[in-house]
Symmetry: C2
Subunit: 256 residues, 2 copies
DNA sequence: CATCCATGTTCGCTAATAACGAACGAGCCG
DNA sequence: CGGCTCGTTCGTTATTAGCGAACATGGATG
């Protein structure tokens, strides 16, 4: 592990929606390095385009971060492979479909197809890290990590913040739910993040049987309650299709 | 400039749509460093999430790049400030509106509002680097760079590739066009990138009068020819509005 | 308008460390 | 089964990243 790059990681972690601009002194304090080191770090990252220096000589993320994300999306196997199935699922179900992966302990959506109504479209931006305890895709992704890693993630989780009356804030109960998710092969989100929004999610597996992503289907509660079984089967059909294209052969794999 | 970070920049440049996966040896050759150095670099970047190691132990961009781009979009001044004006322009004109910036010599779109028809929507992905010589926004952005920088960009330009019969491939003629763009305050793209697609673009200025972005309006040729003047005035109204919100005061500034 | 404080930036020195090359182990193809 | 290529590890050495002090700048304050 190169020290400079470890620092780059810490530095990039500083930038978020609530604090998108940082000065040299500020960064030096946050990373506990000297001002000159912080300066060298910031300036270098600005030179390669990962950061940008503002007229007031402070720094924020550079446009190159966008470009990198774009390259990933257009070249990543999963995004391209899953798109047809996702589009199809959105069209047949009429609901919003999300494709999500785990990124350093957080759920991020990497692709979305809004439903017929076009609601939820901008609910949560693509790429934004989300806590995993209040989303169906989060449950699915966490449920299929190695137990040791899942435990570590649960331990280091920033805390089970409550968003609605239904948010699961008890780790014990959450773990029990993960167990259920593993058994039944899909997860629910029953108004645990937003009032009146329910989701179903199921895992996408690659040729080794590893869960590399999750597809989620979001809708208003009343439609969920009415057509629950239909949504589940349509979703599972989609994840089966994507998994198959990734080389996963359902017949050979057991429930493990 | 920290050497390690300069290398990170070179390394990230390697990853593109045509070559999204790289192995250690390959990288070592490309960057002209030892295999062990390349390995340390790749592994470190994978640890902080900028890269990801695939099961076959090769590397590709990591999901964190998406997360970074998302933070930038949701926190950057320009994107949020310009959104209302862009949405409005798209609604009133019915055509596709793009917001673009210059990123290390390339044009990238950072935001888009598809027109009524919903065509062009996926023509060029958000964040993907584009050559500047065949887009209206590219002309605008380049025309307002300091002459020295613009010259350097023209020199290092990968070449004026031809995409349509109308693509400008002559640097002399392109420079003349930049001069005209500066004079009239907007730029055209007359089927220079795609057949049957025309664009108008105009600059967005901040409080110092610097051009920080460009707004472009894209449409089929026949509608462009019919309503050219309307599009121009609607576009200029939008850029004036956004520039004003960035603190630019048109009255005080000359043509300079 | 003058002063002061905080911040961004530069520079030389030194200790930390990143780069190298060789060696090891795994995987693939012939 | 043998040869090749690739990813990974390790110890040494030269590079360089980090530090602290000094300088420059700009905005706030009195």
């Amino acid at each position: 592990m190169l020290g400079t790059i470890r620092r780059v990681g810490q530095l990039l972690d500083l930038f978020d929606e609530h604090h998108p601009e940082w000065g040299v002194t500020e960064v030096a304090r946050a990373l506990q390095v000297s001002k000159s080191s912080a300066h060298a770090l910031l300036r270098s990252l600005a030179t390669i385009g990962l950061l940008e220096q503002l007229p007031n000589s402070r720094y924020r993320l550079g446009w190159r971060t966008l470009a990198l994300g774009s390259v990933l999306l257009t070249s990543s196997g999963i995004a391209g492979i899953a798109r047809p199935a996702i589009d199809n699922l959105a069209k047949t179900s009429g609901e919003t479909v999300n494709l999500a992966v785990l990124e350093r302990g957080h759920v991020i959506f990497i692709e979305r197809q809004p439903g017929a109504g076009g609601r939820f479209a901008s609910a949560v931006p693509i790429g934004t890290p989300l806590p995993f305890h209040c989303s169906a895709v989060g449950k699915v992704l966490l449920a299929h990590r190695p137990p040791a890693e899942a435990q570590a993630l649960l331990r280091t989780a920033a805390g089970f913040d409550r968003f609605t009356r239904n948010t699961i804030t008890d780790k014990q109960r959450f773990q029990a739910e993960l167990e259920q998710v593993r058994r039944q092969g899909y997860a629910f989100n029953l108004m645990e993040a937003f009032d009146n929004v329910c989701c179903v999610a199921a895992p996408v597996k690659n040729s080794l049987g590893l869960v590399v992503a999750a597809i989620g289907l979001s809708m208003p509660t009343h439609r969920f309650e009415r057509h629950r079984d239909y949504y589940i089967s349509a979703l599972l059909a989609a994840t089966r299709r994507v998994s198959a294209e990734l080389g996963w052969e359902a017949e050979t794999g057991g429930v493990a």
